[in-house]
């Protein structure tokens, strides 16, 4: 009797979307990260806006399942391996690892910084820690950072004092303005050959390496400057790191033109082996070719694409926006490329968020269609472009493992419900065509 009742209860819950196995009305808010299962049957997408992992049928875009993570997670980068899904919870400083067979979620706390003063709750503990002091405020007493030595310094003094940063015309403690979390884990890559997974932390500026077997932290390396996306050369055990877009120098870190190479050959210690300095700011999109001999990156603000030879450190760049034809150092902010994907011998896909564009000379606003560009990496020439609406905002992109298809997320515009979604594209004969979309 009980089992029969339970069965009925589950049927009711499923049929009505409570457990959310249905494919009925769901509006996506800000779809962000994307990956595909090894068999190519399922596409996984994180929804940053409402804290869910959506699972789609890769063949037709129908939604198979939505897994609630947390409203507050700000789920971003995702990566699939071994029937598990690794997801960064940006706002919670965590990585969630979902067992897709059971839907159990293991939580890995990301904490690469020293414990902050406020976590010490006794006078004795607090005062024993350098940089902390006890603030006696009666019932509100707490442990806080020692007096801010940065406040009041002029620009020249400020930049000469360790831990101080000249920001917004005032001297502030480095990173003091940022308050959304200490680490902000963003993007994950998985080395299934050597059994590691890696995560970038935007705010604290680290790359962390974990065991794919145990999910234990093996090593972390400080790379600074808002690390964002990563690509792997599993054979040579090299990891390449791009940058989050700095906004007028206000985000953590001021240098924003570098791609870093990390050598993780040593099983315990990662080493920053090379830096490639570009002539354009905000190199965010990142891809690597099949044999690891070329790295591609795109400047989010200058709309330039760069090809890096990691062995020789040769770097060459190309303008993406032929209509403007800007030099590499001019930040046009028209196409706003987000991610690159190298496919096969010579193809490179680039998603461009685009959207509203402000002409600095006329002061007029225009709408630039979100788009996917297909490039030939031998000639570095544009082969094809597929445009969406300006509200679509293509962000992350992934290749199907068994077919000539790619999948990408449309982050959408906050004001236009239904503009966020997922798209499947074919590139047969180097022509980009939409196979299906889901909004």
């Amino acid at each position: 009797m009980l089992n029969r009742f339970s069965y009925l209860f589950v049927v009711i819950m499923i049929s009505c979307g409570v457990i959310n196995f249905d494919n009925s009305r769901v509006k996506y808010i800000t779809l962000h990260g994307i990956d595909v299962s090894d068999d190519g049957e399922r596409v996984f997408v994180s929804d940053r806006g409402d804290g869910k992992l959506h699972i789609f049928n890769a063949n037709d875009g129908s939604r198979i399942q939505s897994i609630k993570l947390s409203d507050n997670a700000m789920a971003a980068g995702i990566k699939y391996a071994n029937d598990k899904m690794f997801i960064t919870y940006q706002a919670l400083d965590q990585v969630g690892i979902i067992d897709l067979n059971t839907n159990n979620i293991d939580i890995i706390d990301i904490n690469y910084l020293p414990i902050s003063c406020i976590s010490y709750t006794s006078i004795m503990d607090c005062n024993m820690v350098t940089g902390c002091e006890w603030m006696d405020m009666g019932s509100m007493s707490h442990c806080m950072n020692s007096v801010d030595v940065c406040l009041g310094l002029d620009e020249e003094q400020c930049i000469s004092v360790d831990g101080c940063d000249w920001t917004m015309n005032m001297c502030m403690e480095y990173g003091g303005m940022m308050d959304m979390g200490n680490n902000t884990p963003h993007f994950i890559v998985i080395d299934t050959m050597n059994h590691y997974w890696f995560v970038t932390t935007i705010t604290s500026g680290f790359v962390g390496r974990y065991s794919l077997y145990t999910n234990e932290l093996i090593d972390k390396i400080e790379v600074g400057d808002s690390p964002a996306l990563m690509v792997l050369n599993e054979y040579d055990k090299k990891l390449y790191v791009s940058r989050m877009m700095p906004m007028a120098g206000m985000m953590t870190g001021a240098i924003s033109t570098i791609i870093q190479e990390i050598d993780y050959t040593d099983s315990n210690h990662m080493v920053l082996s090379k830096q490639f300095e570009l002539s354009s700011p905000a190199p965010h999109g990142l891809a690597i070719n099949l044999d690891g001999s070329e790295i591609y990156t795109t400047s989010n603000t200058a709309d330039w694409i760069w090809k890096i030879n990691p062995s020789s450190s040769d770097i060459i760049g190309f303008v993406m926006d032929e209509m403007i034809g800007n030099t590499h150092d001019i930040e046009t902010q028209r196409l706003k490329p987000i991610q690159c994907l190298s496919v096969g011998d010579s193809l490179l896909f680039v998603t461009c968020s685009a959207g509203l564009w402000y002409d600095p000379l006329s002061g007029e606003q225009d709408t630039i269609p979100g788009q996917v560009q297909l490039w030939n990496t031998h000639t570095m020439s544009l082969i094809d472009t597929l445009q969406f609406t300006w509200k679509a905002k293509p962000w992350h992109i992934v290749q199907a493992p068994v077919k000539d298809l790619i999948y990408l997320t449309l982050a959408g515009d906050n004001l236009y419900l239904g503009s966020s979604g997922i798209v499947c594209l074919s590139y047969e004969n180097n022509n980009l065509e939409i196979v299906w979309t889901a909004h």
Binding site: R25, M180, Q333
Partner: protein, 469 residues
């Protein structure tokens, strides 16, 4: 212990709400085998009190009562600094501002069925959520002297924010102006929610941590609104349209408008650009904070691309002055009620005797309107347009918008040309970016407030051009 009980209660509510959904919707689904209109599943994951609105934005049923919300003064004893800051803020002034009452009166006149609720949904959320009709009050004095609960008079008070359990969405207003704000609050249960991790409870209330308190989305539903599809007041969207910010969540509203203080707490002045004009500006507790904020909002310099200010000039030549304005702000300048605000460049060229040879964007006093016939004037503002494409000053009558604001983190390049007709030793060029939170004509009905209207200097630069020998 109380925390555990509350959590168990929350779980119970979640289960009950799921069962209610089964009862109200899904039992019928069993019969018809499908359910095309599932209740959004947010409701089953986080607890908040419920309310239902009709087509006019009026409450038809609600679980909220005014007593659920603490009067702000109750918070004062333990949180004197927070209380003081809030009481000086525009959040506390929301139901006292005569300019608001003027706009509210117009809304009620033009939209008798919906206008009262439309404004109240953000200016007095307690009145909105409890269904308290305030249409009898036409001035702040009447309202403040009434017997209404203190919580309703207090505008956006402590519990409006510190009872938020989950995030809201943008307010999309339909043609009939019906209020639709979607709040997720859980007041009246003795729990205060905030951004402090592992908070300690006290004899007055339980304390809960919620990471959403550091996110820009916390400022929804009120700081993002469309009307008839017009992007009328979209500060949050302006922020979210920057990919780097939308992806990372960094540079949140709170980072700039609720800065962390040396004692680790956050400033509750919610400093923006609005100011209580009933004070002479030098007495306003917010003046210096607004000035500081605005002075960090832009950067201006001479020159852009290959254009530079010349070192020297001769009589008969044209002096070209290229100026670049760079926004350091994560939303547009101006933002919010951008149609009532204006920021502009003032440029003055003086000769070696100090005489003015050329000027643009100069006003003699703070209440003087800008000379809009000046073709050189670089002005950042928006203009709302009505049904017949006429200029209007209130969002309630907006059918379109002309947007000349400076978008987030954007640059604007502007060039002035001055024909040098006389010989001097040198010329001095001074450029200032200036801002005022109201275009003077908007305050025409409030001459007492207009006289207190401040004009802020956001940034200034100056250079000297010598004459060739």
């Amino acid at each position: 212990m109380k925390t555990i009980i509350w959590k168990l209660y929350g779980q119970l509510i979640n289960v009950m709400s799921s069962l209610i959904r089964i009862g109200t919707c899904c039992l019928s689904c069993v019969i018809v085998t499908s359910c095309n209109n599932p209740i959004p599943d947010e409701e089953i994951t986080l607890t908040s009190k419920k309310y239902v609105l009709n087509e006019f934005g009026q409450i038809t049923s609600t679980n909220f009562s005014a007593e659920d919300f603490e009067p702000p003064k109750n918070c004062k004893e333990c949180h004197p600094n927070h209380y003081q800051e809030w009481s000086e803020s525009m959040h506390a002034y929301a139901m006292e501002d005569p300019i608001f009452f003027s706009g509210w009166e117009q809304a009620q006149h033009d939209y008798p069925e919906t206008g009262e609720r439309f404004c109240v949904q953000c200016h007095s959320p307690v009145a909105f959520l409890t269904g308290e009709d305030l249409s009898d009050y036409s001035t702040s004095e009447e309202l403040l002297e009434s017997d209404l609960p203190e919580q309703i008079k207090a505008g956006i008070s402590c519990d409006i924010c510190h009872s938020i359990t989950s995030l809201s969405q943008t307010v999309h207003t339909d043609n009939n102006l019906a209020a639709v704000a979607d709040y997720h609050l859980y007041p009246g249960e003795g729990i205060k929610i905030g951004s402090i991790q592992n908070p300690e409870s006290n004899e007055h209330h339980e304390s809960e941590y919620n990471p959403i308190f550091t996110r820009s989305e916390l400022c929804l539903p009120c700081h993002d609104m469309t009307i008839r599809g017009v992007e009328a007041e979209i500060t949050f969207t302006e922020w979210s349209r920057i990919p780097g910010l939308a992806m990372s969540g960094e540079l949140s509203c709170q980072d700039c408008h609720m800065k962390q203080k040396n004692d680790g707490t956050h400033d509750h002045h919610f400093t923006g650009v609005d100011i209580n004009l009933s004070y002479p500006m030098e007495e306003s507790p917010l003046y210096n904070k607004i000035e500081e904020l605005l002075q960090s909002a832009v950067y201006i310099k001479f020159g852009y691309y290959n254009f530079a200010l010349p070192d020297s000039i001769s009589k008969g030549e044209t002096l070209t002055i290229p100026v670049a304005v760079s926004s350091l702000t994560a939303h547009a300048i101006p933002s919010g009620t951008s149609f009532s605000r204006e920021a502009w460049l003032e440029l003055v060229i003086r000769n070696d005797q100090g005489n003015i040879l050329y000027q643009s964007g100069v006003i003699e006093d703070n209440s003087e309107p800008l000379d809009l016939s000046d073709v050189d004037l670089l002005l950042f503002t928006t203009q709302l347009m009505g049904e017949n494409e006429e200029s209007v000053n209130s969002i309630i009558n907006a059918y379109s918008i002309i947007n000349n604001s400076l978008p987030a983190f954007s640059d604007r390049y502007h060039q002035y040309n001055y024909d040098v007709v006389n010989d001097y030793n040198f010329l001095i060029v001074k450029v200032r970016m200036r801002f005022r939170s109201f275009k003077p004509y908007i305050l025409n009905g409030h001459p007492d407030l207009l006289s207190n209207l401040p004009v802020f200097e956001m940034e200034s630069i100056c250079d000297t051009i010598y004459f060739k020998q």
